[in-house]
């Protein structure tokens, strides 16, 4: 799993994940995402290049969302492919976090 972070506006940081979001390499992703969440910004997690996700990956997303929420910030998800989206739906993640098709769709919404 690869992780890249980029600042896309004053209060939104994009975290782009690539590969399998599972227990392998989860520690590094967990650490990096906590770091971003603690910096007090909104987080957009780009899942468009994620090909596999397990409960471990979802746990990290929820943990990061909780940290962001504690400072009144949000975590949103961008571009999950259909199988990944199905996992998010079965886990009820789509009821808790906003999911956008693309960065443009998120920007078009006017807010996170």
């Amino acid at each position: 799993m690869e992780i890249k972070t980029s600042v896309i506006s004053a209060d939104i940081t994009m975290v782009s994940l690539t590969g399998s979001f599972d227990a392998t390499g989860a520690d590094i992703v967990d650490l990096e995402m906590r770091k971003v969440a603690r910096s007090g910004v909104n987080i957009a997690v780009d899942l468009s290049d994620v090909v596999f996700i397990t409960s471990q990956g979802i746990r990290i997303l929820m943990m990061t969302a909780k940290i962001a929420n504690a400072s009144n910030k949000k975590l949103v998800l961008i571009g999950p492919k259909p199988p990944i989206r199905k996992v998010l739906a079965i886990m009820g993640v789509d009821k808790i976090l906003s999911i956008y098709e693309s960065v443009d769709a998120m920007a078009g919404n006017g807010r996170l």
Binding site: S20, D22, A23, T24, F52, T54, S55, Q56, I58, R59, M62, M63, A65, K66, N69, P83, V87, I90, M91, G92, K95, I96, L97
Partner: protein, 157 residues
């Protein structure tokens, strides 16, 4: 009745790093038996979640089991078995009695603060499989995961 003579089989040590072997092994079996690609992701996820649970819980000494014999081999055996309209994954481990199907249903959270950080593996397993069964036999935990196939599988030559 199973279609292939020998099941496609993987032996894993009970450590989380071993989970990385599941996807390449499953893809080899999938290609060999020409199974439909749309089911691969879901079956891989079922195996992954079930095996991760075994690694995390089946080798922990349960309360009140202080006199139980310790697992010896500490290995997990995963088999892919073809039926004519379904595939079956059998996962066997020599850990302590551990029935993953006894896990209570999780309440779906509506807010971030309500959301639980654990207990997501078994709901995923339930959500992506068509039939699950468990038995304890001969000192082994045996889990069977059935995934129906929309198209019939061609008999291997």
């Amino acid at each position: 009745m199973a279609l292939q003579k020998y099941p496609h089989r993987l032996i894993l040590e009970n450590r989380l790093e071993a989970l990385a072997q599941i996807n390449p092994w499953l893809e080899r079996g999938w290609n060999e038996y020409e199974l439909p690609n749309e089911s691969l992701f879901e079956v891989a996820l079922c195996i992954y979640e079930a095996t991760a649970n075994i690694i995390m819980y089946a080798y922990q000494v349960p309360d009140g089991y202080s006199k139980a014999p310790e697992p010896i081999a500490r290995v997990i055996e995963i088999s892919l078995i073809l039926h004519d309209d379904a595939i079956e994954i059998k996962i066997q481990d020599d850990g302590y009695d551990f029935n993953p199907l006894m896990t209570p249903e999780r309440k779906v959270a509506q807010t971030i603060s309500e959301a639980s950080l654990s207990g997501r593996g078994i709901p995923l397993l339930r959500g992506f499989s068509d039939k699950l069964s468990y038995q304890r036999s001969g000192g082994y935990n045996q889990l069977s995961i059935i995934k129906s196939l929309k198209v019939r599988v061609a008999s291997p030559q």
